[in-house]
Symmetry: C2
DNA sequence: ACGCGTCGGTTCGATGACTGAACTAAGATG
DNA sequence: CATCTTAGTTCAGTCATCGAACCGACGCGT
């Protein structure tokens, strides 16, 4: 966008959220992070985002305490970006938007299917389990490709998403 | 943003949604429409958005069949923008984002409180009623100001939101 | 020791989007 | 007839994004 600053007049928590999350690419970065992506290069390859924009967005997410930047090895120094609790709680809005897109913007059937691991039951909109009815945190979710998925992409993230995967689990 | 077009590489329904909804201002327009705002001038005054951007966004929402443009009086000709069914189903993602903002981006307590009218019970994240447990469509929701609300703004929309209001109900 | 590759960035010019103010059009109101 | 309201469009300036190139720290092979 040019989203960042200008929603001050809005007396609304949605506007507060969008000051951070409404900028171009930001929610897609969060989505990838929910899938378990942590490294700069993996975000870059999967999103096809300009490097400068990725850097700026990751910094903004870290400043907002949605992600945490940490060094996962010294020598050579390597950084990774991991969702905080605040960030993991973005799972319901992300799911709700994806669900809406699935029903109204997609022609080929669902691209991803989410299951509640303890119940082995599908998850509906609202992030509730269709079996136990409870709110399902990301930690208990598994993704697998749906009938509309594109299985031809070759970047590390797309490859990892071809099989069933626990959400948040780091890529190999 | 400059959001619109560029998410084609993404194999994801979230990206499809964001091509439309991720542009600056768009979700705030939808939020106002859920509150019952229908007229160009009301959107303009409540959002403080540049006129050209408002026109462009409303057109995009109409093209996407999220809103419908219709003439509510001849002579002088006047247009209004009303959510379609597809648009009203944006209520869960909007609520989820607002809820997240309320918990993580707001200091002053909730600004708006939503109740399920038949049950007279509060609505939680996930757009489910805390009493009957069912999914609550916007049509059955009432908004009222919460403790964090700003009651000093004087535009027609802000004034209408000072009292309890049925969602979607047109402004006077 | 040298050159090459990888990872995580920063810098830069060109392009495109957003902003705010001014202007237009069609009719109502006094 | 002049003025006001509503719903826009047009335009110049500013700001964000894009894509390509560059940089620095280090590992690895020879």
């Amino acid at each position: 966008m040019g989203l960042g600053k200008n929603y001050e007049g809005q007396d609304c928590s949605l506007a507060r959220s969008l000051e951070l999350l409404g900028e171009r690419w930001t929610l897609l970065i969060v989505r990838d992070a929910l899938y378990g992506v942590r490294r700069y290069g993996d975000f870059l390859a999967h999103l096809g985002i300009p490097r400068a924009v990725l850097s700026q967005r990751l910094s903004a997410l870290v400043d907002a305490e949605v992600m945490e930047r940490r060094r996962y090895q010294e020598s050579p120094p390597r950084e990774e970006y991991v969702l905080t609790g605040k960030g993991r709680e973005l799972w319901p809005p992300v799911l709700a938007l994806a669900h809406w897109g699935e029903r109204h913007m997609s022609d080929a059937g669902p691209r991803r299917v989410f299951r509640h691991v303890p119940c082995d039951a599908p998850i509906g909109a609202g992030a509730t389990c269709s079996a136990c009815g409870a709110y399902v945190p990301v930690e208990e979710v598994e993704v697998r490709p749906g009938p509309g998925a594109d299985l031809t992409r070759e970047d590390p993230v797309s490859v990892a998403l071809r099989g069933p995967r626990r959400m948040l689990e780091p890529l190999p």
